[in-house]
Symmetry: C2
């Protein structure tokens, strides 16, 4: 396996070990990053590997608290440069996203994140409910499809209606931020915690 | 299965359905909470079950941001009453915990949360490192034990030295908060996000 300069740089950034040691570790580990970290630690050449897979990126980790600590939101929004990360437009967007999450409690950023089992479960409920309501068999698939789509609109941040302007979705708001900043902007991850809610989710 | 008033209350709180409907749903579901929620939704008697397992609890969801959005911390600290939750001592404690997490980057609240595989992995590294250093075979177990203990002190919040007074651990600080508030205080969960860090952990 070819050991590249980038691989050595990355290992060095993660462990603080010397360049030659990093090259040796990567060679021994046949290019496997985690094994190379272990190798360096075993040799006493790296002290910590807690966050070895750290990667450089720009943006902000935005926080928002609601109800005096009853609801807390943490969201990471990324952009391409530090310049944009510090701009008013980007900061404002990140803040609006945190507010939106606090108010509308999405579960996912996009519909790609919804587990297949959850969609099947929702489909099952929608179908049984339509049967219960006496809907004709022939239109059941269409009804289920419509309800699944509505479900996605509720649980996916990007599909939600923006709380300050319900005529646009968060995805539209994101796109206009991409346009105004001239950079790719990504809502990477979020957590919304409510005091005392169940942890087993 | 006996359907208790508490079960009905809980289902009602989670779904907004009527008391009689909740009783019927629980009976049909043989006391299974999630199935009862599904039953109500299928009957069109409950609209949302996003956070059905919500439980009442006191405390606060505390936030802390560092480096202009480079690091964000969210932590839930629980206590028994709303009175203590609003007290200065409790609020101060929650804030100190958020600061500690931002500064010292623990991975777990207590050592009970460390996955067994991670401990085995750390033990393996410690052992190989000790062999590499030429330590005698006979004292290897003691060395490994010592290093595992040190590892736990680093990654577990409760075992970490308090950043403002390194002579005490966070567990001691917690205990003194329990003493001063007269209530059980629990650090339930936390997340510490660093801008751009790897997500695959």
């Amino acid at each position: 396996m070819q050991i590249t300069t980038d691989m050595i740089k990355e290992l060095r950034a993660a462990t603080g070990a010397g360049i030659l040691d990093c090259r040796k570790a990567l060679t021994e580990a046949d290019g496997d990053f985690k094994k190379a970290v272990d190798y360096l630690r075993e040799k006493g050449m790296a002290t910590a590997a807690k966050r070895a897979d750290r990667l450089a990126s720009n943006g902000t980790v935005e926080l928002y608290s609601h109800g005096g600590g009853r609801v807390g939101v943490i969201v990471e929004v990324n952009c391409e440069t530090d310049f944009v990360a510090r701009s008013e437009a980007f900061r404002q967007f990140a803040h609006e996203i945190a507010l939106q999450i606090a108010a509308s409690a999405p579960k996912y950023v996009s519909d790609k994140e919804i587990p297949e089992t959850e969609l099947l479960h929702e489909g099952e409920i929608a179908k049984n409910r339509a049967i219960e309501e006496g809907k004709p068999e022939a239109i059941l698939p269409k009804i289920v499809e419509g309800r699944i789509s509505k479900f996605k609109d509720e649980v996916c941040l990007l599909r939600q209606a923006y709380i300050r302007d319900e005529t646009i979705t968060i995805e539209k708001l994101l796109n206009s931020t991409v346009a105004s900043t001239g950079e790719n902007v990504i809502i990477r991850r979020f957590q919304r915690w409510e005091l005392g809610e169940g942890l087993g989710e």
